[in-house]
């Protein structure tokens, strides 16, 4: 069990993880951001405005849904789904972009930049920018642009500029590199909306705080619905924002928690994104955390069928929770995620995102081996419309 005061230290360290590992040009901006964030959190009008947007724009609270047919089919524990896929823009990412954009406005910055993998954070940032009348540029790897085409179109329609990144493998890591490079040159008037609980302090804390509404709602909902807390929480972990958002309000409860990383084509093939499970401690994108790297400290390419999990790093708080053994980290392969995706479609009429399907696959495995009176709560972090191209290209190959 982790202590109630499990906040990072004044420099953003969760144990040995986190911190601020950035070039000097960005340091003053990050310190300014931290100060502004602390200030804004004390403003009742900010809290009120964000809450109002959550209710009337995002559609919060999102439902907690008991997946009865799926649970009965598996014959074990009851599976509840926290329906973040029903949030406006189709994923949890909007919770965070609204919070950060309000902060940007408070700081007098009218230009937003973001990195995106699956495109959900890019869409959420583009949406928020449109809502607030801000300029928006989204950095996205060319490989992700290819496999998440519908989200690219959505961003363009929303008025954002999508900047293709062709360095490295053209995925999330490279998009984040390029966003950071752009920010170095534009730091005086541009706000960098990071989409995960990664990056230099205060991003990991700030993003978790904007996402913790997921867990707060889910906790209340399950108590109302089932009359008790769940036995197990499950969420997928790329950088880990939806997972931190769900887990955080439960950390002091007697509830088992599992984060699910992407095992890609299988851990033994080396083509995976299981950063905590199979990486080691390093420094990437401004913080210290587990990282996939080779024996010379060079960052390795991750692999996952899901663009949102295809990242060789992970948020520092996850690394910390792993070392404390408060959260277990497991992994699910591409094919297992695809199977889970299809099961949810057939049994519940819900098309989940490939990212969320990793969490679902693990939960389904667990459910089978648990008694019927047990409860598993899964964060269904996003909807799967964006993934249809990928899903059909794989299914047609089978």
């Amino acid at each position: 069990m982790i202590p109630k005061e499990s906040q990072p230290d004044s420099k953003g360290h969760f144990g040995i993880y986190g911190g601020r590992y950035v070039g000097e040009t960005l340091m003053p901006a990050i310190l300014e951001l931290e100060k502004a964030y602390v200030d804004i959190c004390g403003k009742p009008e900010f809290i009120r405005e964000l809450k109002d947007l959550f209710t009337h724009y995002v559609g919060r609270p999102t439902p907690l849904y008991y997946a009865k047919r799926l649970s009965e089919h598996l014959g074990g524990a009851a599976i509840y789904l926290k329906r973040e896929d029903l949030a406006h823009t189709g994923a949890h990412k909007i919770n965070n972009t609204l919070g950060q954009a309000l902060l940007a406005r408070w700081m007098g910055k009218s230009k937003l930049i973001a990195e995106t993998g699956a495109g959900q954070h890019g869409v959420a940032t583009a949406t928020t920018a449109a809502l607030f009348g801000m300029e928006c540029q989204v950095f996205m790897g060319v490989e992700d642009i290819r496999r998440q085409a519908p989200n690219v179109q959505r961003m363009k329609l929303l008025g954002a500029t999508v900047i293709p990144v062709d360095s490295g493998t053209g995925t999330l890591k490279d998009a984040m590199n390029e966003a950071m490079r752009y920010w170095v040159g534009a730091v005086t008037d541009t706000f960098y909306v990071i989409g995960s609980v990664a990056g230099p302090h205060p991003y990991p804390v700030m993003v978790r705080d904007f996402q913790k509404v997921i867990g707060e709602e889910a906790r209340k909902q399950i108590l109302e619905d089932a009359g008790r807390l769940p036995d197990l929480l499950v969420a997928c972990v790329g950088g880990g924002s939806n997972a931190m958002g769900l887990f955080y309000p439960f950390l002091n409860d007697n509830v088992a928690i599992t984060g699910v990383e992407a095992a890609g084509k299988g851990i033994e093939t080396g083509k995976h994104a299981a950063t905590i499970g199979h990486g080691n401690v390093g420094v990437l994108h401004g913080s210290k955390s587990y990282v996939l790297q080779n024996d010379d400290g060079q960052i390795m390419e991750a692999h996952s069928i899901s663009a949102g999990l295809d990242y060789p790093g992970v948020g520092p708080e996850h690394s910390y929770l792993n070392d404390l053994k408060r959260v277990r980290y497991e992994s699910i392969r591409d094919d297992q995620a695809l199977m889970a995706l299809q099961s949810l479609c057939r049994f519940e009429g819900i098309i989940p995102a490939l990212e969320s399907s990793h969490a679902l696959a693990h939960a389904m495995d667990c459910a089978k081996n648990m008694d019927k009176d047990k409860i598993i709560l899964v964060n269904l972090s996003g909807r799967g419309d964006k993934d249809l191209g990928t899903v059909f290209s794989v299914l047609n190959d089978l």
């Binding site: 070039g23 000097e24 040009t25 960005l26 340091m27 490079r181 420094v283 010379d296 060079q298 960052i299």
Partner: protein, 264 residues
């Protein structure tokens, strides 16, 4: 006195400014890279920044990104760069600064790195993404008067931060000429002069200016206000454009001479 302090003292006596050259070690391969760097030293480089290549150089523009990628592709490892430093040290007394992102050093082990770097004849280290707030985990393994920790000051740095940075640095301060990645254009010499003046009023350490300096005219303008001029992308661009040119060594040699003349 260490090699860096000695170099600045000698230059001061002669009324010269330092020409600092950055090269990605191992570009295009370790053997050729060593030859190119030797030619640059012969041309009159005052200080060498030997870049340890990294897969994700987020503070670098496209030219140094490509040079770093070529070095990695040719098999350059952190230990290769230390070997290169050792080789160079056999022939020259030029101060060598290892220029790196933190992850390769973190993986190698900060304590081992500091020991091995000094054994290999290096004189200091500059870690782009290790601000003073985090650098204790590296600096506690060496005596900063013997092995220098070069720190960056940027146009965004406040005066209070400049003071903290100066107080914990050694060797010299690297003043970033503009907000942007390496190799960006749009050098504003007037702006940078006033920034350099402010910084120099806060520290006795020499101040070298880098980022976006590519012509002899730029060098001359910067040399009027700073104690040294750092050139990186311009050298890397020359290397990139002349891979197969048998004259590459002499091209770099000549270019160093031209830049050096502009610092006088």
């Amino acid at each position: 006195m260490n090699r860096i302090d000695k170099t600045f003292a000698t230059l001061k006596d002669k009324g010269e400014k330092a020409l600092v050259g950055f090269v990605s070690a191992g570009d295009p391969d370790p053997e050729k890279s060593l030859k190119l760097i030797s030619a640059m030293c012969d041309g009159g480089l005052d200080i060498l920044e030997l870049g340890i290549p990294f897969s994700d150089p987020t503070a670098d523009g496209p030219v140094i990104q490509r040079s770093s990628a070529r070095a990695l592709k040719s098999g350059t490892r952190l230990s290769t760069v230390l070997d290169m430093s050792r080789e160079l040290r056999k022939k020259t007394e030029i101060p060598i600064i290892l220029f790196s992102y933190y992850n390769p050093i973190h993986y190698y082990g900060p304590e081992k790195f500091c020991r091995d770097a000094q054994d290999a004849g290096a004189d200091g280290v500059l870690v782009v993404d290790l601000p003073p707030e985090e650098s204790q985990e590296l600096t506690r393994f060496f005596d900063k008067d013997r092995f220098s920790i070069i720190r960056l000051v940027a146009p965004t740095t406040s005066e209070a931060r400049m003071q903290t940075i100066s107080d914990t640095a050694s060797g010299f301060i690297y003043l970033v000429s503009k907000t942007g990645v390496t190799g960006s254009d749009g050098l504003d010499t007037r702006e940078i002069s006033s920034l350099c003046g402010r910084l120099k009023s806060l520290t006795d350490l020499p101040v070298c200016i880098g980022f976006g300096i590519s012509t002899a005219e730029d060098v001359a303008a910067i040399a009027r206000v700073a104690d040294g001029v750092v050139i990186g992308s311009a050298f890397e661009r020359m290397i990139e454009n002349n891979f197969d040119n048998p004259e590459l060594c002499s091209i770099l040699y000549q270019k160093v001479r031209e830049y050096k003349k502009a610092t006088l």
